[in-house]
Amino acid sequence: MEFLAEALPSMLEATAATIWISAVAVAIGFALGVPIAVACSAGRVWANLYVSFFRGVPLLIQLLLAYYALPFLGVDLPAIVAAVGTLSLCCAAYMAEIIRGGFALVPKGGLEAARLLGLTPLQTLLRIRLPISAQAMRPALISEAILIVKASSLISVVGILELTRSAQALASSTFEPLPAYALCGAIYLVINLTLTFLAQGRGGAQRA
């Protein structure tokens, strides 16, 4: 009880950080994922390389690369920007795969109708393809959001204060790693179960 009283304020603050970091990464990831998906479908080599790299290299290594290699190249970003940026770029690679899968489910006829009626490719993408595939992509998007919440724990390694980092600090200051990490894990679980619940709830409402 005493532990909780001491731990909760800092942990809740860190929870907020984890949530906004994840939300930003998912939002940027989706926004970047759309053009990457389009480029992948069009067989662009850079897009396929992008997806292959960000899905092939452990996120931990990507974060270290941004942390060490960017300054080496003369790019000096605040650590939080580098970390959230890397998380977003990585998310975009997974999003591109999800979006590409969703696009494959859009019937060709609907796109032909759009073309005949004179919609531009961009209009067709935004007004027809994305909305039609959104419903089918929703479960995968929620899974990806959960993966990002979990992956955001890795940015503790480059010194960003979020849930995991906060738990580490708590563990070393209280000499009680077990409750510290258990609390940390429980908070992640609550965030992710909430996401799952929201996904199911909204999906159910739409079906009705």
Partner: protein
């Protein structure tokens, strides 16, 4: 700079065997555990399957890094005192098992009940029907997902460096701290993992195709 790159590749070569060993061991135990969990959840009564479902949700909902910390730093307080390598193996197995079990469960659910009913009407005992009809039918369906997960687990092994498992990432980072050539060492790490993951993914796709062809013939 060239020296740092060369040292990094050497360190990578020294770390790679442990990365592959702990990955292979983790995938193997993860598959066995995952299959058992899925089978119990599918066949056993609710009282048994419900706690397992909760456990799977818990493992899937918590970052792997936090699980490693819990086991490695928290474990000793409840009498689980493991070496880094053992802790890494156990953590990877449990984490893998949770995901594998979901794939196996989906596989069980994908077999139409009519197939088992047909076997039952022919008088084939239930365990025989499961063994000879259900498992072969689901094998082909679950294989790609299992392989995909196994490839993802390669990347998770990098996280084990944080709990000081002397694998690939740990060794190459050691070169970084000794020479301060962090940019070069991290670049080498990225390239090695990229190659490892792409090669494994290619091999699994290749094997899948061969198995599918063999089963179709």
């Amino acid at each position: 700079m060239m020296a740092a790159l060369a040292d990094s590749f050497l360190a990578a070569a020294r770390g790679l065997p442990l990365t592959i060993a702990i990955w292979g061991a983790g995938v193997a135990t993860g598959l066995v555990l995952g299959f058992l969990v899925a089978a119990i959840r599918f066949f056993a009564p609710l009282a048994l399957s419900w706690p397992l479902a909760m456990a799977v949700e818990a493992v899937r909902g918590v970052p792997f890094l936090v699980q490693c910390f819990l086991l490695y730093f928290g474990g000793p307080f409840i009498g689980i005192d493991l070496s880094p390598i053992m802790a890494g193996w156990v953590a990877l197995s449990v984490y893998g098992a949770a995901y594998f079990s979901e794939v196996f469960r989906a596989g069980f659910l994908s077999v139409p009940p009519g197939q088992l009913e047909a076997a039952r009407m022919l008088g084939i005992p239930r365990h025989q029907a499961v063994l000879r009809i259900m498992l072969p039918m689901m094998a082909l369906a679950v294989l790609p997902s299992l392989a995909n997960l196994a490839v993802i687990l390669i990347k998770e092994t990098a996280i084990l460096s944080i709990i000081t498992v002397p694998e690939l990432t740990f060794r190459v980072q050691g070169v970084g701290s000794a020479t301060f050539a962090f940019a070069e060492t991290t670049l080498v790490l990225a390239l090695v993992y990229w190659a490892l993951v792409e090669a494994t993914a290619w091999a699994s796709r290749h094997t899948e195709r061969r198995i599918a062809r063999a089963l179709a013939a």
